[in-house]
Symmetry: C3
Subunit: 447 residues, 3 copies
Amino acid sequence: MGVEPVGSSSETAAQDDGVWMSACSFTIFTMTSGFGLLECGRVSAKDEVNVMVKNVVDMIFGGLAYWVAGFGLTFGSYAEWSNPFVGVGDFFFDPERNDTANFNEKGLSYTMFIFQMSFATTTSTIVSAGMAERIHLKSHCFISFFITLVHAVSGHWVWAREGIFRRIGVIDSAGCSCVHLVGGVSGLVATLYLKPRRHRFGSNGNKNISDPTKAILGFFMLWWGWVAFNTASNYAVSHKQWTEGTRSAVATIMASAGGGIVTVVISRVTMRKIEIDMLIDGMLASLVSTTAGCLFYTPWQAIAVGSIGSAAALSIYPLTEWAHIDDPVGIIPVHVVGSFWGMIAPSIFLNKDYGLDTNQVTNDMQLNGLLYGGGFTLLGLQTLAACVIALWSAVCSFVILYTLQHSPIGLRISKYDEELGADLREHGLSGQNIQSYRVEKKITAQQ
Amino acid sequence: MGVEPVGSSSETAAQDDGVWMSACSFTIFTMTSGFGLLECGRVSAKDEVNVMVKNVVDMIFGGLAYWVAGFGLTFGSYAEWSNPFVGVGDFFFDPERNDTANFNEKGLSYTMFIFQMSFATTTSTIVSAGMAERIHLKSHCFISFFITLVHAVSGHWVWAREGIFRRIGVIDSAGCSCVHLVGGVSGLVATLYLKPRRHRFGSNGNKNISDPTKAILGFFMLWWGWVAFNTASNYAVSHKQWTEGTRSAVATIMASAGGGIVTVVISRVTMRKIEIDMLIDGMLASLVSTTAGCLFYTPWQAIAVGSIGSAAALSIYPLTEWAHIDDPVGIIPVHVVGSFWGMIAPSIFLNKDYGLDTNQVTNDMQLNGLLYGGGFTLLGLQTLAACVIALWSAVCSFVILYTLQHSPIGLRISKYDEELGADLREHGLSGQNIQSYRVEKKITAQQ
Amino acid sequence: MGVEPVGSSSETAAQDDGVWMSACSFTIFTMTSGFGLLECGRVSAKDEVNVMVKNVVDMIFGGLAYWVAGFGLTFGSYAEWSNPFVGVGDFFFDPERNDTANFNEKGLSYTMFIFQMSFATTTSTIVSAGMAERIHLKSHCFISFFITLVHAVSGHWVWAREGIFRRIGVIDSAGCSCVHLVGGVSGLVATLYLKPRRHRFGSNGNKNISDPTKAILGFFMLWWGWVAFNTASNYAVSHKQWTEGTRSAVATIMASAGGGIVTVVISRVTMRKIEIDMLIDGMLASLVSTTAGCLFYTPWQAIAVGSIGSAAALSIYPLTEWAHIDDPVGIIPVHVVGSFWGMIAPSIFLNKDYGLDTNQVTNDMQLNGLLYGGGFTLLGLQTLAACVIALWSAVCSFVILYTLQHSPIGLRISKYDEELGADLREHGLSGQNIQSYRVEKKITAQQ
């Protein structure tokens, strides 16, 4: 195995790290349902159930892809094939094949698998949001499968010990680039490729949403899952690494508090109300912003990172609206803008003294950010990684979408099906969910 | 105490095991709400709230029953009464009565209680699904109480060190037989006894369901809870047992991925759509399938076990429909078929080398399955246990139902009440939930 | 840092305690969404979304307040300013400023912060329930901020080592007084100050509720969160303190089982049905009842404490109805009555032999309750603390409300806005949630 939490040399350390990562992966899996609710609450009522099903399917096909090849592409390491570009080995993951491994090594290997799988399946759920209401469920299954592999390759670059970006010093503890940026950019490409939903733009265009309460509940579930997501991103609690983890938990919450206040203010000032879409997207952007450097941020830094993330995300709103980019669940502000800023942020705020000597998962090169005398090195590295990974996922997702569209499977549903709604067409549910809201702008003017 | 996680000889081991099992029990309790949502989303809108209340009541009366006698019937062990058939002792559970126990022993005893209680209350929620929309809430309270005790006795057989099935080598780590089979068979008996809901079958019969999104959310909650449920089923993390636990977590997820793909394919081929009922039932069946041998399955084995479980479960669908068995939440495919296969599966796939020497909770006899040269011994044992426990729960649940029906408490609600719905009759909620779906078959034909 | 879990002298103990408290805080954060659902399911459909947003806002502004000053007011301890009345120090919380602290100390400090913050933000969500449907969202933000500080000061009294009440021997492990009583009394003052919702009382008055299923789901989320909340309230697992924690978990569940049965019986006898409001409030009151002495109660004691708590809470129902106090989510029975009884209960049931020598977080004075020969000392202390803290929060919340009302920010929304509903006015959501229930009393008479 190429994977090996640092502190786990001793018996106790292996147990402690293994138990902690397993427990956190249980919580991280809940984020899939959170994302399902977030998404289904923000699409039309006629597609609500379909969106939940797509999030189930993401776990099924994403999970299978991760077992077949995803884990191997990120962490696989037949010694003779070790290289900075792609993991080789551990395909059709099965530690029992490895006769030389002892119980602890096998245990840690299982633990890494389930932990990383909980991250990997997150990527395809993000993409699904960009395609909501317009794509065949069967096409969606293929996309889930392949996007998981796209993530896995970029995961090798930033997470594997021999990965190209990790080796040169790029910091990305919790998958800011290989989860959120890959998901966001792929989703952006998908929504551009698929074109907007009918009736979304134009003189009579409007946003019909199914159930804002479900969306907020989903946001809540993401919020609490995120704390585990960020906290466990150093893979270990032993050898004092729990202290980094708990700092990361505080940073995550404080970033969302800072981002939340900025979001509330921006929404009040620009819309004269708290718009649900803005509230959720602003706060999620603050959380995404923390994912690269979460292990290092002190509370005030986290507040700054989150606030800037929220502000940047919400400033893109008028642009997507003007450009008629249909982004039902805000993946462009949250996952594209948020994760770009998230990658940049460590290059400003990172202080290597806040990390531990024993920690090799993050900051291997012992770099400092701009504020702590590190100069522009880290800024260059982080920007480079973000750009390369954005390009990688844009190209891959385009290839996947283009291939699917020109295959017998197809991609976009027909006009007729779109009007009927996927709940009826894909699941045979007649008599749709009547609960439904329209986002109204005029009434706020007279307030 | 008859209960004693193996590794907990030392101070640290006791702490580690106790903390882990407590933490997992917290997650397992969330499954009750998951099951509540799953169930309330799949019954008529006029009974939705009632179904949620019944799941609350399951915890109350099931919890009380477990305290009064359930824990004692499974794990109680006054040394002089120790026998293979039923636990004796620890009734009205209170470790403080035991003056000779030290803090660690008391702590582990509390931990076992809360952990096992989270399993026990699961049993009665399964039964509640079979009786949905047709039974008085007051009768339901009694059934919750007594079914918990039915579970507890069979729990002694497979889990207690002196239990008859455990002693002869039966493998059932996470309650495949004493939780799922007892729940499933009791629910089957209950639905047969109560007869179908009005308007369910016949020429104008249809399936009205309240809210498929809630059902899928409930399924998600069960899914993630299940990982903790299976992972913690060896009671310990110390002495390398965490390595079995984390293998179990991977097996659980991979079984559901395998089962999910089989389910999606079967639903597409037979119905030309992804039917929500089939999706949920197929996947839950794959999870139930893992519960006997989860600690041992490698990833490919888990995929096989889950896939076969899903296929077997869905193949029963036409039969129940043809036989006019009204099974609102699919307990027959999921909990009867799924758990029968779940009990058989270890007799094929079990490899004793994948377990640990120190583990005495599972595979005490060091048996192998068919694939690893163990011959038919384990197959015979597992089949025997499944049949005996199925018979036990069928008889007990019939006696409970018959007694209740012929008591002043009664059982089935009147026609008039059934038409009005339990939300109005039992809870005084007028003006029902308008959100409602009908499962439509015809539209799929023209696809 | 004035905060220091007792057992954490050694490396391993620090890690174990830190990891455990972090993990529990993750679960406790889920209670915010549980409370959001509980509340939004019980208000009018036209305000449902607004109520969820307010629970988001509670975390944002409460979290910020806790960072700025809350943590410092409770646990801050510049040695020279140490006093029994208020914590001083650690404002704008940042352990990295403390150059003399080692990694373990910083880690425990972060852990205490996130753990206590999860308690603190609970307080303001309770208050929000008392003001539902009647208050501007912007005013709500200010109240969240300041109530968090009101909680923080009283937290110093009962939790800090030098706090006045802790020093004299008051027992309040999980914030019965400084979380629930502060929240409940402040909410009571708020609902009195704001006056009832329109159409709530009077000849045509009625209770329109949005979605009882959501309310029950929210209750479930609180229920499972509560187990972590109570279990972790001794801050540690090392040095056998996990044994107290797991006893606390059992006590929490058993109290709710006992309280649940009392609630079901009272509701059946008085209303001839299981009223959803009563069911939820009765059970929540049983949980609140455990929060002061949870670490000490044996199972039968917990059942007694929970049962009495539920009975006391529900006996207040006719009074609030008669007095035309509009309490949409039952904070008076649950958080005022429940927490008063919760503070009294240890003075009856506490047995110091059930605690550990090493535990300094609870029962420092080694007192016994009435049943164990401790006399009336503890009763006096607990009553005193409850009365002082109730008075403190009443005065503070009145000052906050009065100040806000007479500021340009204002407090109560206009008649016109109340009729329209906050979802439209504050969030621009037109076409409201159609799903809606009315609580009907007459139909039950003919049963």
